[in-house]
């Protein structure tokens, strides 16, 4: 039996199509989302600016000192790059190479936070204080990223990027406000960041989006 697959094309109901057209005509007045490049620039500047402001404030309060900036320059650079790349994955139209670069940068940065913590010391502060602080600093950025997630079709990479971005604030402050050793960073800083990523990913799955554009 021969099958003409093209005959499986369905014929739409003209009145339904006209209804949809009329409804869309009414929606034409709705504003569109801002150009993604503009949103990306503003978001990246806002987040890196906020991080810089928090670092400056904690420096002014005597929580850390300037020589530490030299010691943490590598990890700080990695964190800034992750912040910017996470923004790009979250906001820009999807690109496979960008997604792969993001994944690589994220893993590299997490490893870097441990490997470059060779100057650490022990402390009497309970270790979970770092995890809790790190997580609580993720809350506001996670809420901000939800509105950005809704502007396009949700993908796993975008969900992960939203959590990664939210976690960079806590990770960055952890570099300057916590002087403990590499083991502490691996056991109490990284899990907080990974948890923020998990929250970003899982909460994105049931998000009601405003657009299914890629």
């Amino acid at each position: 039996m021969s099958l003409d697959w093209s005959k499986l094309q369905t014929t739409p109901d003209p009145s339904a199509m006209a209804r949809v057209r009329a409804s869309l005509q009414e929606s034409l007045q709705q504003p569109s989302f801002a150009p993604w490049r503009e949103t990306l620039t503003k978001t990246a500047l806002f987040l890196t600016g906020s991080t810089a402001l928090l670092l400056a404030a904690t420096l002014a309060l005597g929580q850390w000192n300037l020589p530490l900036l030299g010691l943490r320059s590598t990890t700080l650079s990695l964190l800034v790059i992750v912040q910017v790349v996470s923004c790009a994955v979250l906001i820009a139209p999807p690109k496979r190479k960008l997604n792969l670069a993001f994944a690589a940068m994220l893993v590299l940065t997490m490893l870097g936070l441990v490997v470059f913590r060779y100057d650490g010391h022990s402390s009497t502060t309970p270790p979970w204080v770092c995890t809790l602080s790190h997580l609580s600093l993720s809350v506001v950025p996670l809420l901000l990223t939800r509105s950005l997630l809704r502007q396009a079709a949700v993908t796993a990479y975008r969900g992960i990027a939203s959590g990664a971005l939210a976690g960079t604030l806590g990770a960055t402050l952890g570099e300057f406000l916590c002087g403990q050793n590499a083991e502490h960073v691996a056991l109490f800083h990284l899990p907080a960041w990974i948890l923020a990523i998990g929250v970003g990913l899982f909460s994105s799955r049931n998000l009601r989006v405003e657009s299914y554009a890629p």
Binding site: P12, F33, A213, P214
Partner: protein
């Protein structure tokens, strides 16, 4: 699309006229439910409207449009899988199969077989078999590479051969 992005709202109506019927057909075959397909058609074009600034002017509009439609269909199918009590397959297959085929029962049988495929394979076979898209066109629309689309279409064909039995000759 370029004119629409520059503010020409009449251009949007032209895009709808040009593409709505085939997008509706794609959505109907994807979700197996005409009225849901109509809702998703509206959602698809609403997404075009809202996210027009995400469109790359150097890309093909139809690829972008079908990517949106596929995303909307996938999301609807996932939600339907979570609330199966709201879905009545016999009703929707009836609605979905009003095609140009002279044998409606055949159309119904094929639609039922399509419903058994995983979403990604269903997309591949609908675009490739029913709408005649190449693997490169599908890859561009769905953000995959052409080999992935080829593998999906091949697996879908194999599964359809199992399900459609006597119609198997046509899926080789």
């Amino acid at each position: 699309m370029k004119r629409f992005c520059q503010g020409d709202t009449a251009a949007f109506d032209e895009l709808y006229t040009r593409h709505s019927a085939t997008v509706h057909g794609f959505l109907t075959r994807m979700v197996g439910d005409r009225s849901l397909a109509e809702d998703l058609l509206q959602t698809t074009f609403l997404s075009v409207l809202r996210a027009r600034n995400r469109f790359d002017p150097d890309a093909k509009f139809s690829s972008w449009l079908y990517a949106i439609a596929a995303n909307a269909a996938r999301d609807a199918l996932r939600k339907r899988a979570r609330t199966p009590e709201d879905f009545h397959p016999s009703e929707v297959i009836e609605q979905a199969t009003a095609s140009t085929m002279t044998d409606p029962s055949l159309s119904k049988r094929i639609q039922h077989a399509l419903e058994q495929l995983p979403i990604a394979q269903r997309e591949a076979v609908i675009l490739h078999r029913i709408y005649g898209w190449t693997f490169e066109q599908m890859a561009e629309a769905l953000g995959e590479n052409p080999n992935t689309m080829r593998v999906r279409a091949h697996r879908a064909d194999a599964r359809l051969r199992e399900l459609l039995g006597d119609l198997a000759e046509d899926t080789r």
